[in-house]
């Protein structure tokens, strides 16, 4: 069992289920606010939903359309200082700068909690990125299930929603007068336990209602699904005709937005940035959709065309080779790429085109 599993309580699946009266939710959020920084969905300027630190319980949204930016920034800031550099050419000091602090991500949607689980796998796989994993271990993820799935989501196809079986510390489900809290880890247990008297064990009727809500939610997807299977077979065996990639990439504007809003995208570059009297070495978001991503100092570029880059993105997300490595497709079905793509080079459109061999972009 890895440290992370241990931190999360080890076993897969809920450890216990509790219930809290809706009228007491703000009291609970107050106790959580005392434990560490709470990042939750709130109304930003102009009414956009965004995940940001909250200071009072009334700032937290409980009914909302998911944010355009996933809360992955909590663990992977766009610019992430790794360490401080001081000194001059004949002598340097280099010191890590990642403070440890307990933080709570409250009301992450199922897809986004799944995105965080995916990123954990990436940082655990092969060489462990201990600094990232410490930050992840310090974060308690409270997810909020989706009894009414959003119109563009297809989490059902990715095992990433609308309700989760694991991958959360606490999963909340809105049952009306009561919220159900399923505990998925020791960290989650602690969050519910510290709130003496607010939670009581959930009743069998409440658990039954939760199961019914999940079944109804699953039914509501209807045809709005993304059939990865045959697309995966074709991508993995190189049986997507080049002409199809050509046509599909004609609709890509190379803006990179699909990668920036994707909960599972994590491509990055490492750069030095001036800071005070020295520098910070930073990990910064990058995108495989940008032409310079593979540009070598010599001027040679092994992926010179837009088509090469679109192909690369979907190979990484949908191929069986990566599926075997990551244990899942590189997609949580949040539908954000559908929202942001200026063309139609989004996950469901591309997967459908590959499956049918025809592009209807």
């Amino acid at each position: 069992m890895s440290d992370q599993d241990a931190a999360r309580g080890g076993s897969a699946g809920p450890r216990g289920a509790y219930a809290i009266e809706r009228s007491r939710i703000d009291d609970w959020v107050s106790t959580v606010l005392a434990l560490g920084e709470v990042i939750a969905p709130m109304a930003g300027h102009g009414g956009d939903v965004l995940y940001a630190p909250v200071e009072t319980p009334d700032q937290v949204l409980w009914e909302f359309d998911n944010s355009l930016h996933p809360p992955k920034e909590v663990l992977l800031p766009q610019t992430d200082p790794l360490f401080e550099i001081r000194g001059e050419r004949s002598g340097w000091q280099v010191a890590a700068v990642r403070p440890r602090e307990p933080r709570i991500l409250l009301n992450a949607r199922s897809c986004d909690a799944s995105g965080i689980r995916f990123l954990r796998g990436v940082h655990e796989e092969d060489l462990r990125d201990s600094a990232y994993l410490r930050r992840d271990a310090d974060l308690t993820v409270v997810s909020l299930s989706c009894p009414q799935p959003c119109s563009q989501g297809f989490c059902i196809c990715c095992d990433a929603g609308p309700f989760l079986d694991d991958g959360f510390d606490v999963q909340l489900t809105d049952l009306g007068e009561v919220l159900l809290a399923e505990v998925g880890s020791a960290k989650g247990e602690a969050l519910v336990r510290t709130s003496d008297g607010l939670f009581r064990p959930a009743s069998e009727q409440e658990l039954s209602r939760r199961r019914m809500l999940e079944a109804v939610a699953i039914d509501s997807f209807g045809e709005s699904t993304c059939h990865f299977g045959s697309a995966m077979r074709r991508i993995s065996t190189g049986r997507v005709v080049e002409a199809l990639w050509d046509t599909m990439s004609d609709w890509c504007f190379e803006c990179g937005a699909c990668t920036l809003v994707c909960p599972t995208c994590y491509c990055f570059s490492i750069k030095d940035r001036q800071s005070g009297g020295g520098w910070q070495r930073c990990r910064m978001w990058d995108s495989c959709q940008y032409g310079a991503f593979t540009l070598e100092a010599s001027g040679h570029n092994p992926r010179p065309h837009r088509k090469d880059r679109v192909k690369r993105r979907f190979y990484h997300k949908v191929s069986a080779q990566y599926y075997l490595r990551d244990g899942t497709v590189g997609c949580v079905g949040c539908g954000r790429c559908v929202t942001v793509c200026l063309g139609t080079t989004d996950m469901p459109a591309v997967v459908t085109a590959i499956r049918k061999g025809v592009w209807n972009g």
């Binding site: 002598g91 990436v122 940082h123 600094a131 490492i270 070598e296």
Partner: protein
Amino acid sequence: MDDLYLPRLARIAEVRDETPDTRTFVLQLRDGSVADTLPFVPGQFLELSVFGCGEAPFCIASSPTRPQALEVTVRRTGQLTDALHTLGPGDEIGLRGPCGNGFDVAAARGKDVVFVAGGIGLPPLRGLIWNVLDERESFGRVTVLYGARTPSDLVYKNELADWGRRDDLELLVTVDRAEPGWEGNVGMVPILFDMTELQPASSLVYVCGPPIMIRFVVQDLLMRGFGEDAVISTLERMMQCGVGKCNHCAIGHRYICRDGPVFSYRQIREMVE
């Protein structure tokens, strides 16, 4: 290592000019010996930091059989290499590694070994050449075929002269364009194949150079009867992290920095871009 991206510090002990745009840097670790704290195999690479500028990957151009020398040979081609070239003895840089898989030295023991290098492609092979020469009795015939654009572009000129005088190593050098005073071969690297006796059945061939040179050399070798597993190259890609995370150097599901940079031609042929 606790933090994947935290570099160690190393002092530049010596700088040698190789060509008008290429220098070799001899490095000394600040916090321990190479033998004890940086065990590596030929073909692995280092991520070098020029602080304030950034970091980039460079092949180790020396061999673990000579742990007192940790060398990299760098051509000026961009911001970071420009900055590195402004540094001299006594200056400090950062270093992470060793990264990547390196050459399988054990697999070459008992075999004839042929090195085919073009231009700045010799430094990544030089560590393995040193290793072979330092354990010379473990290997069969040793052949080094080296080409550069002009005589000025040949790296390690003194060392080439030493190798040329050895009777347990065959060295053939060519240049694309001669300069006044050059009396050697003129032509692309494959012309050297006809000047030596290649033994496809008993040899491993190590190829490194610009992509176009690798392509022609490999085609030629395959036609001469070398197997796809007997032709080994070390690949380059745009790299950032060097530890298989950032995705810049991915080809298919392989990472040049982690699964490579050393691959057989068969592995290279099976990669899907």
